[in-house]
Symmetry: C2
Subunit: 253 residues, 2 copies
DNA sequence: CGGGACATTGAGTGGCATCAAGGCGTGTGG
DNA sequence: CCACACGCCTTGATGCCACTCAATGTCCCG
C-alpha cells in the first residue's frame, strides 16, 4: 500500500528535473547534464495544492521560487478595500514568485485553480547555484524576462483594446501556451472562472459571457462551460489585431 | 567663458556620485564611501538629450543602464500598426533600462520630454562591481523592484479605476515623486503633453482635458497649461480612493 | 504676424456596466 | 435516489461614462 501507482508516480517525478516532461520548458532548459544535477539538488520537494488553496499570500516573506508541474494557478493583488485585480494565470512549466525577488516579500497572492503540483526552489540554495552556473543564471534571467514581457502585454491590452479584442488575445495566449505543452491548442479547458477572466481583462462577467456567445455565433468558437474549442483560428487571430482599434486612443506625440 | 556658471555646475556634477544631489535617491543610496568610489568609476559620462530625442529605441541592443540626473523622459512601446502605449514617466534619480537586463534588448523606447541630462552605467562594468559589492547588488534589486511595483499599480489602475480616479492617482504619484526630490509637491510642472497623459491613463485627450477642468471647477486644482497647483490635497487623495469603484468590476472568486 | 501644434469645450453616440431574472450543474443532506 | 440550495453562467433591458466628431481657443516658434 506504500507503493500504489500514485505514490510511485510522485516518487519518480521527485527524482530529478532531467526526468521531468517539462524540463525543456522550465528552468533547466539549455542546461547540460552536470549542471542539471546541481540544480536538481536544490529542488526541495513537490507540494500539492487543492483548488482554492494558496501557494503564497500577498505580504508573505519570500523564501523560494516555484514552478508549476501540473494544474494551474492565478495570481492577484488585493487592495485595502478588498478589490481584486487578477494579474495572471500560471500554467505547467511556468515560474512563480519572481516578483518577490526584489523586496523579499511577495507582492501578490497565488491561488490554485485546480489540484496542482508545484516544485519548490529554496532561494538561498538557488542563489548559490546560480552564482556558480552562468548558464543557469542566464536562463533564470530569461525566465524573469518572460514575466516582464507578459506584464507589458497585459498593460497594452488593458489600455488600448476593446472587450472583444481582449478576450481574443486572452484565448490566443492560452492556446499558444497549450501548444508549448504539446497539448491540442484547439481544445482549451478553462480552469479559471468567468469572474477571473473578466477581472483579468478589466471587464465584468456579463460582458465576457456575452462575448463568448457572440464568438460562438460567429462560428469562431464552440463553447461549453469550461471547454472551449477554437473552430476558426484565422478569425480569432484577426480579432487579436488592432484593426478598428487603430488610431482610436491618444497617440503619444 | 569656459567657466560660465552652467559649465561649472555640470563639471561639478560630473565629478562624482558622492557629490550629486540625488545620491540618496539613486543607485548609491545606502552604500558606504569606499563602495561609492567604486561605483563612481563605472559611470562613464553624462549625456544630454534635447526634447524629443531618444535615449534608446525599442529593439536596441542593451549596453547600459541609465539614471536621470535632470529633466524627464517617457517610455513607451509601439506595435506593428504604430499604436503607442506610454508605460511611464521617468524623473530625476530614477533608473532606466532595467527591462532590458533580461533579454539584452530594450523592449521599449525612451524619449526625452525636455532637455535632460543622463548618467550612463555601462553594464559590463556595473555587473562586475555588483558582483563584488553585495550592498550595491541589493540596492540594484531594490531599484528594479520599484519598477515592478509601479507596473503592477499601473495595471490595477487600468483595470479597475474610472477616468477621474486615474488622473487623481497620476497627479498624486507625480506629487509624491516631487516631494522625494525636495520640490514643492503642491506645484507640479507637467513636462508631458495631454496626449501622453491620456495615453498613459488609457483615455483620450479630450477626457483628460475635461477632467482637469472639472477638478479645477471643484477647487481641487489650479491648472494653467503645463502648470498644475494642488489646492486641496485632501480632496485629491479622496479621489484616489476606490469609493465608488468598489465592487464594481468582477471580483475574483 | 502667420502657421501649426496643442488644448479646451460642446454635442452626439455607442460600448460596456449595471440591474434584474432565469437556466444550468454540482454538491449535500434527507 | 431525489429534493433542494447554492454558485456559476447566461441573457435581456436600461443607463451612463467615455469615445467620437467638430469647432474654437491658445501658445509657441519661425
Amino acid at each position: 500500500m506504500e507503493n500504489g501507482p500514485v505514490v510511485v508516480d510522485i516518487e519518480q517525478l521527485r527524482r530529478s528535473c532531467g526526468a521531468c516532461a517539462l524540463h525543456e520548458l522550465c528552468l533547466p532548459a539549455g542546461i547540460d547534464r552536470n549542471e542539471l544535477e546541481r540544480l536538481d539538488s536544490a529542488v526541495r520537494d513537490k507540494r500539492t495544492l487543492d483548488r482554492g488553496k494558496l501557494l503564497f499570500r500577498q505580504g508573505d516573506a519570500f523564501n523560494a521560487l516555484y514552478v508549476v508541474r501540473s494544474g494551474s494557478l492565478k495570481t492577484f493583488v488585493e487592495n485595502a478595500d478588498g478589490e481584486v485585480q487578477v494579474l495572471g494565470f500560471v500554467l505547467p512549466g511556468e515560474i512563480l514568485g519572481v516578483a518577490a525577488l526584489v523586496n523579499d516579500r511577495h507582492p501578490m497572492t497565488a491561488e490554485a485553480m485546480e489540484r496542482s503540483s508545484i516544485c519548490e526552489l529554496p532561494y538561498t540554495q538557488l542563489q548559490q547555484i546560480v552564482g556558480e552556473l552562468p548558464a543557469l543564471h542566464r536562463q533564470l534571467m530569461r525566465v524573469i524576462s518572460r514575466e516582464v514581457v507578459a506584464d507589458n502585454s497585459h498593460l497594452v491590452m488593458m489600455g488600448r483594446q476593446h472587450a472583444q479584442e481582449r478576450l481574443a488575445i486572452f484565448l490566443q495566449s492560452l492556446a499558444d501556451r497549450h501548444a508549448r505543452l504539446s497539448r491540442d491548442a484547439g481544445a482549451l479547458t478553462l480552469s479559471m472562472s468567468r469572474y477571473d477572466i473578466a477581472n483579468y481583462l478589466g471587464l465584468v462577467v456579463e460582458t465576457v459571457s456575452r462575448l463568448f456567445s457572440r464568438m460562438e455565433a460567429a462560428g469562431i468558437l464552440a463553447v461549453n462551460r469550461k471547454s472551449v474549442r477554437i473552430l476558426r483560428p484565422d478569425l480569432l487571430a484577426q480579432l487579436c489585431g488592432s484593426h478598428a482599434a487603430a488610431a482610436r486612443r491618444g497617440e503619444a506625440g
